[in-house]
Amino acid sequence: MNKKNILDKWIEGYSRRIANVTSRRSFITRLGTVMVGMAGIPLLPVARAAGGDKPMDADPGDPKSCDYWRYCAIDGYLCSCCGGSVTACPPGTQTSSITWIGTCRNPADNKDYIISYNDCCGSAACARCFCHSNQGDTPTYMPFRSNDINWCLGEAYNCSTAVILGVATS
């Protein structure tokens, strides 16, 4: 009987980090409390194939895996596993108007990228590919790097994307 379910996935994610007692290098770039706000921008529906594209050499890894480099500060269900992509929301959801951000190192170019974790909203949780990483995560009273907040705010949460905003110089 295949018993691999969401709970096991959670455990796996936690266990990996529990086992890894040596600290990973912190890639935090301090940004203060800047909020990247985009309220009022209309949705851009795109066909599925286009949204799923991703240059593989410069952007290595599997967007359906919690190990993918862009997910270093994510907390939620991966839209890549939910009918969306690493940058796009699944059909039937809406993008959140504001987001939280993280700073993740791309192993391909060894540069730190500012990642905007745009939540997808308006539906119950997708409950696939739970991923919880906390690099640079701050408490909820320092909100804009806090992954504990439902950035759908007044709406229900479905999944999270990981959109590149740009490169952060050190």
Partner: protein, 390 residues
């Protein structure tokens, strides 16, 4: 304290305003991604898509419908549907997904509102809600609790309050039309453009026809199909052309033909040999029959168990040629299952799942070989529905 920044989509560099706050390098190897994208589905459903409906049994809500791509082992999208779970309805042109939803004013309490949701078939965005009488049956979901007329115009909804009735919704006009009282009879089995059958508690069939405007409704009650509750027909029949194939608790098929004005009940035939019955093989589970229309094949979910095990999951799917009433194949499932469904193409897939595990199993419906499993499909999935392809 907080600064809101407008960021243009599809931009190559962040704006100058943003540069003042972030130390950004425009020569980055990876370009900024476009923002605020929402994916759409292809224009037409693919035969290897399957909708998996989840009842979320830890609370019994929300009902969720997951659209899965069996070939790519991927999820395509989902719809959240309120309290409990009813099947969805899929018009053949793929233009929409119809849902049947119950909502409480305060999530799990307060005023009840039942609605039919019309979701765009390509964007899965809600296009319209049609409020209907708040009477839909609240139960373990069976496909026979809701159905579309053969021409996809009327959505027929089984009500149980415990008074029994059918709500009729005109999907062309997108409005509720009428409630038809059907005391003593349950389920709703579309059997033409303006006709449906129901099963009554005395084992007779109710044959209902109606006019476009629902001004004229004719109800004909047939003879009893069986004499004893010991071998009742399950609520899980399948439609095959002009026939509804009912199965009894002890695995007899009762074919009911709706091709003429008067329904005719064919001879019953058994899915099991005497030896198999002695060995306690019987049908079981929550969705235990499936039809491949073009191949004329009936798929039935079997297990070994006592006479009261009619809802227990099965570990084998037996395949029958409906015309000859012969078993042609036994498929041993990778995992036990409470629901099965089959895709409607030339390379049919057999879908199966067991409601206590959120795993969708896929077998080759012809060879019976296990193909793959897709994990994490909700929490307690119950129903499997494939696109109608006409």
């Amino acid at each position: 304290m907080m600064k809101f920044l407008n960021i243009q989509t599809n931009r190559r560099c962040l704006t100058a305003a943003l540069l003042l706050l972030f130390p950004l390098l425009c020569s980055a190897e990876l370009k900024p991604d476009p923002m605020h994208q929402v994916l759409t589905l292809p224009d037409k459903p693919h035969p290897h898509w399957v909708w998996v409906a989840d009842i979320s049994a830890a609370s019994y809500f929300p009902g969720k419908a997951y659209l899965m791509d069996a070939d790519k082992a991927d999820m395509l999208g989902m719809i959240t549907m309120g309290y409990g779970l009813s099947p969805i309805a899929l018009p053949a042109d793929g233009s929409a997904v119809y849902t049947l939803e119950r909502h409480y004013e305060r999530t799990s309490r307060g005023k009840v509102t039942d609605v039919v949701g019309i979701y765009n078939g390509v964007t899965l965005q809600l296009e319209k809600e049609i409020i209907i009488p708040a009477k839909k049956i609240s139960a373990v979901p069976y496909l026979s609790n809701v159905g579309l007329s053969d021409d996809d115009r009327f959505l027929l909804i089984y009500n149980f309050t415990p008074a029994q009735s059918i709500s009729v919704v005109d999907m062309h006009k997108r409005e509720f039309v009428k409630e038809i009282s059907t005391p003593g009879c349950g389920l709703v089995l579309p059997s033409g453009n303006r006709r449906f059958l129901m099963l009554c508690s005395d084992s007779s069939i109710l044959d209902v026809t109606f006019s476009d405007d629902l001004e004229q409704v004719t109800q004909k009650r047939g003879k009893k199909l069986f004499q004893s509750n010991d071998d009742f027909l399950t609520e899980k029949p399948v439609r095959y052309g002009d026939e509804w194939l009912f199965v009894s608790k002890s695995s007899f098929i009762y074919p009911v033909n709706v091709s003429s004005d008067k329904i005719s009940v064919g001879d019953r035939w058994s899915l099991t040999t005497e030896k198999e019955r002695t060995d306690n093989w019987r049908i079981g589970g929550q969705q235990h029959l499936a039809i491949h229309h073009q191949n004329g094949q009936l798929f039935a979910l079997f297990h070994q168990g006592g006479p009261e095990s009619h809802k227990d999951p099965g570990d084998q799917v037996w395949v029958y040629d409906v015309a000859s009433k012969k078993k042609t194949k036994e498929i041993k499932l990778k995992n036990i299952a409470s629901a099965i469904q089959v895709s409607q193409d030339d390379n049919p897939l057999l879908f199966s799942l067991f409601l206590v595990y959120p795993t969708l199993d896929i077998h080759d419906a012809s060879s019976g070989e296990f193909v793959r499993s897709i994990n994490e499909v909700g929490s307690t999935p119950m129903l499997l529905q494939t696109p109608v392809l006409k």
